[in-house]
């Protein structure tokens, strides 16, 4: 317990320094929210293996490392910059280095009708009232201790505010880049998306880190989808092999609002996604899907929670995992249907493909239904490559390694096909092509 107290002391000293440095620029309401979030952290502490939500995920790398705040003024190396998947994105790209927006690296078209884009810090200085209803409230105490730490410590971030009725054609790309000198450092990546009534937007958040950096990315994305609006969010996580990645996505949906999230977790030694979706009014629709591909001794963990608090809402969830080597996958999906949330239609599925004998997966789909007129289904499958299919391909002359690559690709391909942003789909294709043998022309492999 002494170690835990020590951890807290380290964070407390850090928080005192942070408060002193930002006291002048933060609005009062934000200071209060930071203090409350930090107090929740102090009360709960960092997770331990005894916490139900972390039972299957080795927390030690997250809790034992001493992570100093990453330098937001760091100059990313050329390699780190090259790793950011920018090719083909024609819309606005916001680049955040260690949590801080770099205007130099970002490309912000001068005329962006219908959307306010930029630095969270800037918005807080100029028009704090636009962030006040949401920042630190969408991701509230319920979303866990890492989100609380982010709320307490995030000094900047990306903000996307879509005007009511605006339909954005080009996807907005928020690129989070961890750049360091190799020392363990934490960056707090923060994104706030508010889609006004009847608006539509697409958002890509990418996460990359420079090579050998033992970085910790603590990311929080808050999404507000107002009545009848649509937000389609994509996340591509390709951090380095020794990086740690903990991300929280919190979304709130208004009446008849639609929200979709597509999460692709390919990098990091440990990656954890906490997703929290709430229907605040009737008629909402939410579709979550995700693909993680892990090998070596890496760990990918997705915890999702969808709360049906209102009637006539529907949710769809499909998470797929490809686990090779001694890697581990964790899925925990909770769907809560509150009393009165009648006509809820919820479907949840988790499918895992184990490519080696030592690969491991923990899958826990959960339904908690407190209404009586609902349609809810969930399921989970874990298996290996189909031996019959493998032989079928080989019997046609395709080599064993290529056949395995092709079948692995086939397992993942329905999620890749769903990616409606072409440059992203190509980036994902390139990534999988590099990791799976024999997938020469992915586009052609798609039926």
């Amino acid at each position: 317990m002494a170690a835990v107290a020590e951890d807290k002391d380290a964070y407390r000293a850090g928080f005192e320094r942070f408060v002193a440095a930002h006291a002048a620029s933060d609005p009062a309401w934000l200071r209060e929210r930071r203090t409350a979030a930090f107090a929740r952290f102090v009360e709960r502490g960092l997770p331990t293996p005894r916490d139900e939500a972390w039972r299957h995920t080795p927390v030690a790398p997250l809790t034992q490392g001493r992570f100093e705040p990453a330098d937001p003024a760091a100059q990313p190396s050329a390699d780190a910059l090259a790793a950011v998947p920018r090719e083909g994105f024609r819309g606005a790209t916001l680049v955040l280095v260690n949590g801080r927006l770099s205007t130099e690296l970002s490309s912000l078209p001068s005329d962006q009708p219908g959307v306010a884009l930029g630095s969270l810090r800037g918005l807080l200085r100029r028009e704090p009232g636009r962030a006040e209803p949401w920042l630190g409230r969408v991701a509230d105490g319920r979303t866990g201790v890492f989100a609380d730490l982010n709320t307490a410590f995030a000094e900047d971030g990306a903000v996307v505010i879509v005007a009511p009725g605006a339909i954005l054609k080009e996807p907005i790309h928020v690129a989070h880049l961890s750049a360091g000198d190799g020392a363990p450092a934490v960056s707090y990546a923060r994104t706030l998306v508010v889609a006004g009534r009847g608006s539509e937007c697409r958002l890509v958040e990418s996460f990359t880190s420079s090579g050998a950096t033992a970085s910790l990315t603590n990311a929080v994305t808050e999404v507000v989808v107002e009545d009848n609006a649509f937000v389609d969010r994509y996340k591509l996580q390709q951090e380095g092999a020794s990086a740690l990645h903990v991300a929280t996505l919190a979304a709130r949906l208004g009446r008849d609002a639609r929200f979709a999230d597509h999460s692709l977790s390919f990098g990091a030694a440990l990656s954890r996604n906490d997703i929290d979706v709430r229907f605040d009014a009737a008629g909402g629709d939410c579709a979550l899907d995700g693909l993680f591909v892990v090998d070596g001794r890496r760990v990918a963990d997705t915890h999702s929670r969808i709360e049906h608090a209102q009637p006539h809402c529907s949710s769809r969830e499909l998470y797929k995992g490809v686990i090779d080597g001694q890697a581990r996958g964790v899925f925990n999906g909770l769907v809560v249907v509150r009393p009165g949330a009648q006509k809820t239609d919820a479907w949840q599925m988790n499918r895992n493909l184990l490519l080696s004998r030592e690969a491991l997966v923990h899958s826990t789909p959960q339904l908690e239904i407190l209404a009586d007129d609902v349609k809810c289904k969930h399921g989970s499958t874990t298996g290996q490559l189909d031996a019959n299919a493998l032989f079928y391909l080989r019997s046609r002359g395709i080599g064993e390694a290529e056949a395995r690559g092709l079948l692995t690709w086939a397992f993942a391909s329905d999620l890749v096909r769903k990616l409606e942003i072409e440059p992203l789909r190509r980036a994902v294709g390139r990534h999988l092509q590099a990791r799976l043998p024999g997938i020469a022309a992915l586009a052609e492999a798609l039926p």
């Binding site: 019997s395 046609r396 002359g397 022309a441 052609e444 492999a445 039926p447």
Partner: protein
Amino acid sequence: MLEIKNLHAKAGENDILRGLDLTVRAGEVHAIMGPNGSGKSTLAHVLAGRPGYTVTDGEVIYKGRDLLALAPEERAREGVFLAFQYPVEIAGVSNVYFLKAATNAIRKHRGLPELDALEFLALVKERAKVVELDDELVKRAVNEGFSGGEKKRNEIFQMAVLEPALAVLDETDSGLDIDALRIVAGGVNRLRGPERAMIVVTHYQRLLNYIVPDFVHVLVDGRIVRSGGKEMALELEERGYSWLEKEPAAAPAAGR
């Protein structure tokens, strides 16, 4: 082309083939008939190299080489093709992509240049006609959502594209209605040629009205107990197999 000598094989733990001899020359079509459990499908699978089967004795010489020493993909590249009794559905991989990967693997093995997308599509279009396979099915995921007949036609279509030297057809007729059977058999007949040999495994004599074999062999308890010409199939249809099961194994007539 193919010489099977004293082949003994197990499927899992069970002895299935117990001393099978068969010689197939280029240009010949051999029908293998026999009751359920006699080892017909085991023979087909052993020739294609399916995992789960163990050869315990005997040998298989294909084009002068030890076929059993080759991996399944190597056999395919050397010209062996198995038309599956139960073709496998592979969601997420299109028929065209799958066949192109296979074609180019085989071409590469033979020192031929790989076909580009245009050349390959032209080939596919032409060969799809052999079994009247719809363009739309060619583009769909491998066998996914295909009817039983469409799956079998897809097997023969693949054979038409891959142009094997030795084709083994494992109960390609079972479960087909008469129209589908005609199409499948028509496709097979168009692929007959002096350089190509076929082993047609079937449970029903009916297929042999459409694919007329040069030789008919009866497999009982893992051995060929009788061989003859195409007329023997009719006799089998009339009399069944039970009279053969009681007879001692006749000396197998290999080839002619």
